[in-house]
Symmetry: C2
Subunit: 109 residues, 2 copies
Amino acid sequence: MGDFKHLVVVKFKEGVVVEEILKGMEKLVSEVETVKSFEWGQDLESLEMLRQGFTHAFMMTFCNKEDYIAFQAHPKHAEFSATFSAAIEKIVLLDFPGVLVKAPAPAPA
Amino acid sequence: MGDFKHLVVVKFKEGVVVEEILKGMEKLVSEVETVKSFEWGQDLESLEMLRQGFTHAFMMTFCNKEDYIAFQAHPKHAEFSATFSAAIEKIVLLDFPGVLVKAPAPAPA
């Protein structure tokens, strides 16, 4: 089995200081060991019609589903979730085993 | 500048053979050189309330924004987009420079 992905796409409420939320998220992923990698981004390019109000994407990668479940059950996650939930206007969340079709070429030696 | 990400979250129309769409997408990313990596997944775990009908996520990574723009302008992309658009009921699409906060540990030598 490959990596397990936790993908969150959100629109934050007006007035929310996104930098603070991000700081909390960075702290969370650094504190919870089962998070293998974490990447995020703010949409800059997509047409409004296509992004439908969503502005940010967050993608966490775990070695397997068990590690993801452990993350979800982690007290730090529960704590952060409360803050995060209060800050968002809408959310789409997908959890799935990642299927890697094209892998990055290895870095030149 | 880091990687540039193209994230697509969709719900397919009823009756669509997702395997065929996937085959087309795999062909596309293998044919267009500027696609650095491509990963996808089908949601298995998220609560319906949180996934809001969306079922699949597709994430393409490019070395930079220019490579992404080249991909978008590629005739193979235009060709595939027509098929893809016809197959989806709803979509959220975000394009953003990826911010890597926690990187996977290097594989043991």
